[in-house]
C-alpha cells in the first residue's frame, strides 16, 4: 500500500467513487448489514447504555492518568519477561520493528490486522529490507494482493465484490487448478485458509496490533473472529505487539466493560469469537508460544492531542460503528477519505495526524446528521470535533474563497435580523410565485450545485420565522 495521502483530493475521490458501479454495489453491503445487527445486539442487553457510559468514563480516567498507567504497564510487561519499546514517530516504530526482525533473521513475517501498522507504513518498510510481510486477516490479505489500503477499519475489503476477489486469487495463487470454481465466498475462504495455513507455519515473526493494553498485568489483548491473530502470535519465534498510547486501560475489569460494547457496536455480536489476553513470552515448560514478546508503544501525535479539544478522540476503540452509520461513508466508501482512517472517526483523527491543510476536506464531508455520535460506544462527540476542525480551517484561511465570501455575505444578513427577515421573505414569496405551476425548479441561478443532481422544491410561501411568529400569536390567543 502507499502512504501518500490523497485526502487533499477528497472531492475528486468522492466523485470517482460515486461513479464506480462496482464500488456502489459493494457498499450496499454496509448499508444493510451492520446497522440492524448493532441495533439488535444493543437491544438484547438492557445495560448497554450504562456500559457505554462506563466505557467512556474508563477511557477518560485512563487518559487523565496516562503517564502513570504507562509506567505501571511497562513495569508489568517487563516483570512477565516481555520488552517495551517506545517510539515517538512512525519512523522510530518502523526502525524498532525492523531491528527485531533483522536480529531474528526473519524472512516471513505474518501480521494480524493492525490499523497502526497501516498508519506507520510497516509493510513497505519490511519489504524494502527484503522481508515478506504476510497479512493474515482475510480482508487484509485480499487488499494486500491488490496493493490497496483498507477501506474500512474492521472490514478492510468491504469495497470489493466476490468476483474481484476471485480474479485476484486466480492471478496470485498460480499453483492451483485453473478450472477450479471460485464463484462463491465459501470456496474463496477455503482457498485462503489453505494458502495462509502454510504461511502461518513458516513465519519467523508474528506482528499483531492490540485492542487494549492492561496496566495492572502488562497484558495485550487482540479481538478477532477468524483466529488469524492467534496463529500469527502463537507460532513464530517472536510476537511483536504494535499499539498506540491510548490503548491503555487500568484493569481486567475495565477491559471487560469495554469488551461488552466493542463487538456489539462493531458487528452486532455479543462477543467476537476470539478475545486473547497475552502476557509475556513462552514460560518454562510451556509446550508452545512465542519465545520473545515485544510491545512497541507508538505516540505519533497522540501525546499532543491530550489537553486539547481533540482529547476525546483518544477514547476511540476502533469499532467502526461511526462509519457503518455514516451517509457520507455509505455514498463514497473508505478510499475517498484518502488516508488510513475513513468515516467520521477518520474525519476527526486524520487532520490531527497529517495536518488540517491536507485533510481539511474530511471534516467538511459530513451532513451533521449526528448518527455517528449517537452510536459511538465511548460517546465521542464526533460532529462537535468536526466543527472544531472547520473553525480551525477557517481561522487559518484554508477555506476556499467562494465559501469565505458566501459566509461573509450570510454573516452580514445574520447580524441584521430585520434585513434578514425582509430579504428571505421576499425571496421565499418570489420563489413560491415562480414555482407555483410545477412545485419545483429544475434549475436556479447560483444553486446549480443542488439542481444539477436533483430538483429544488418550490417554497410554500411564508418563511420559517413568519410561520413561527404566526403560530405563537395563535397559541397565545387561544
Amino acid at each position: 500500500m502507499t502512504l501518500v495521502a490523497t485526502s487533499p483530493k477528497f472531492k475528486e475521490n468522492a466523485a470517482r467513487a460515486l461513479a464506480d458501479a462496482q464500488l456502489q454495489k459493494a457498499l450496499g453491503n454496509v448499508r444493510v448489514g451492520f446497522i440492524e445487527k448493532r441495533l439488535k445486539a444493543a437491544e438484547r442487553l438492557p445495560e448497554f447504555e450504562a456500559l457505554r457510559d462506563s466505557a467512556r468514563d474508563i477511557k477518560n480516567h485512563t487518559l487523565a492518568h496516562l503517564d502513570l498507567y504507562l509506567e505501571r504497564y511497562e513495569k508489568a510487561v517487563t516483570a512477565a519477561g516481555g520488552h517495551v519499546h517506545f517510539a515517538r514517530t512512525a519512523e522510530e516504530a518502523r526502525d524498532v520493528i525492523a531491528a527485531i526482525c533483522t536480529r531474528l533473521q526473519a524472512k516471513t513475517v505474518t501480521k494480524g490486522k493492525s490499523m497502526i501498522a497501516e498508519e506507520i507504513g510497516l509493510n513497505a518498510h519490511l519489504e524494502a529490507l527484503g522481508m515478506e510481510p504476510v497479512e493474515t486477516d482475510l480482508g487484509e490479505y485480499i487488499i494486500q494482493l491488490r496493493n490497496e489500503p483498507p477501506s474500512h477499519i474492521i472490514a478492510p475489503a468491504v469495497h470489493l465484490t466476490k468476483e474481484q476477489v476471485a480474479e485476484d486469487f486466480r492471478r496470485v495463487h498460480t499453483g492451483l487448478d485453473k478450472s477450479r470454481d471460485l464463484s462463491e465466498p465459501v470456496t474463496l475462504l477455503g482457498e485462503a485458509r489453505q494458502v495462509l495455513r502454510r504461511r502461518f507455519l513458516e513465519a519467523d515473526v508474528g506482528i499483531t496490533g492490540a485492542n487494549f493494553l492492561v496496566a495492572e498485568t502488562g497484558t495485550s489483548i487482540i479481538v478477532t473472529n477468524e483466529g488469524n491473530g492467534d496463529l500469527t502470535q502463537t507460532l513464530p519465534k517472536a510476537h511483536i505487539v504494535l499499539a498506540s498510547l491510548e490503548k491503555l486501560v487500568p484493569t481486567l475489569e475495565d477491559v471487560s466493560q469495554i469488551l461488552r460494547v466493542l463487538a456489539r457496536s462493531a458487528t452486532g455480536q455479543d462477543m467476537s469469537v476470539y478475545t486473547t489476553f497475552s502476557t509475556g513470552p513462552r514460560r518454562p515448560g510451556d509446550p508452545d508460544g512465542p519465545g520473545e514478546y515485544h510491545v512497541v508503544l507508538i505516540d505519533n501525535g497522540r501525546s499532543a492531542m491530550l489537553g486539547t479539544s481533540f482529547q476525546d478522540m483518544l477514547r476511540c476503540i476502533r469499532c467502526g460503528a461511526c462509519m457503518n452509520h455514516c451517509p457520507v461513508y455509505h455514498a463514497v466508501g473508505g478510499h475517498a477519505y484518502g488516508w488510513v482512517y475513513p468515516g467520521p472517526m477518520g474525519a476527526v483523527l486524520t487532520p490531527t495526524l497529517i495536518g488540517v491543510d491536507k485533510a481539511g476536506h474530511l471534516p467538511n464531508a459530513s451532513t451533521f446528521c449526528g448518527r455517528c455520535e449517537s452510536v459511538c460506544p465511548v460517546r465521542i462527540p464526533l460532529p462537535k470535533m468536526m466543527r472544531h476542525w472547520r473553525e480551525r480551517e477557517f481561522e487559518r484561511h484554508l477555506t476556499p474563497a467562494t465559501v469565505r465570501s458566501g459566509m461573509a455575505f450570510w454573516g452580514y444578513f445574520a447580524r441584521h435580523p430585520r434585513l434578514y427577515g425582509l430579504a428571505t421573505s421576499l425571496a421565499m414569496h418570489g420563489l413560491a410565485l415562480m414555482g407555483r405551476a410545477k412545485g419545483r425548479f429544475r434549475w436556479l441561478p447560483g444553486a446549480s450545485g443542488w439542481t444539477k443532481h436533483r430538483d429544488f422544491p418550490a417554497p410554500q410561501g411564508a418563511t420559517f420565522q413568519e410561520r413561527w411568529r404566526k403560530e405563537r400569536r395563535t397559541r397565545r390567543a387561544s
Partner: protein, 224 residues
C-alpha cells in the same frame, strides 16, 4: 539525548499540565489497580447454577457452537468418539497433558490419542476449559505446561470440556478466579476467550465459518 520513552512521558505530562509526582494522581492509579472495581455487570448471567448452565448452552449455540452434557468426566471419551463418528470424522484426537483429560478412560474408545501441541496437521483436538461464561456462551482457556494454545486454533474440529461448576455468570468472575490461581496482577501467558467457531465476513459481508481457526466448536459440559 533524551530517550523516546522519557520524551513521550514528558510530552504527555506537559499536555496534561502535570508533573507525574502529584500524590492524589498516584493514589488514584494505585487504588484503581489495587481495588479493580467492577463496573456495570449485566444481570443476564446472575443466575442460580443450573439456569446459568442453561444460559451458557443457549448463548454458545447462538454463536454456532454445539453443546452436549454428560453426567461425569468418565463419560467424556465416549461422547467425543460419538461426536466424531456423527460428523464422519477420523477417529484421531490430540490433547494436552492436562491431568483432568489424562484421567479420562480414553482406552475404552477406539480413538487414536496423541498428546502435546499441534504442528498444524491434526484434524481433531480436545482441551479442558478453565471456565465457561454464561452471559455470552464464552469458553475461557488458559495456557500452561499441560494446555497448549496451538490446540485451540490449528485443528479443524475443536472439542472443549468444561465442568458445570466452572460455568460462571460474567467475565469479572473469571478474573477473580484467575487472581485466586495466579496471584494479584499476574496472568497466565495466554488466556483465550472463545465464543463459537472461527468465522469471517470479509467477502461481501457473508458470514462463513472456519476462517483460520476451527471450523467446528463442540462443547462437552460435565455435570457432576
Amino acid at each position: 539525548m533524551t530517550s523516546a520513552r522519557d520524551e513521550i512521558l514528558a510530552n504527555i505530562r506537559r499536555s496534561l499540565g502535570v508533573t507525574g509526582r502529584e500524590a492524589p494522581r498516584i493514589a488514584a492509579v494505585d487504588e484503581r489497580i489495587e481495588r479493580a472495581p467492577r463496573g456495570v455487570v449485566p444481570k443476564r448471567g446472575q443466575l442460580p447454577p443450573e439456569e446459568r448452565v442453561t444460559l451458557f448452552k443457549a448463548m454458545a449455540e447462538a454463536a454456532q457452537a454445539t453443546v452436549e452434557a454428560v453426567p461425569s468426566a468418565a463419560d467424556v471419551p465416549a461422547a467425543v468418539a460419538a461426536y466424531l463418528r456423527r460428523h464422519n470424522l477420523p477417529a484421531t484426537l490430540r490433547r494436552g497433558a492436562d491431568a483432568r483429560l489424562a484421567a479420562m478412560p480414553w482406552g475404552e474408545t477406539a480413538l487414536e490419542i496423541s498428546v502435546g501441541p499441534s504442528d498444524g496437521h491434526d484434524l481433531n483436538g480436545v482441551s479442558h476449559a478453565f471456565a465457561g461464561v454464561a452471559e455470552s456462551g464464552t469458553l475461557v482457556l488458559v495456557s500452561c505446561e499441560d494446555n497448549p494454545t496451538t490446540l485451540n486454533f490449528l485443528p479443524d474440529n475443536h472439542i472443549v470440556v468444561v465442568s458445570a461448576k466452572d460455568v460462571i455468570g460474567d467475565y469479572e468472575e473469571v478474573w477473580s478466579r484467575v487472581r485466586f490461581k495466579e496471584g494479584k496482577g499476574l496472568m497466565p501467558r495466554t488466556v483465550n476467550m472463545i465464543t463459537g467457531p472461527s468465522r469471517s465476513g470479509d467477502i461481501e459481508q457473508v458470514l462463513l465459518l472456519g476462517a483460520h481457526g476451527p471450523r467446528r466448536l463442540h462443547i462437552v459440559v460435565v455435570d457432576e
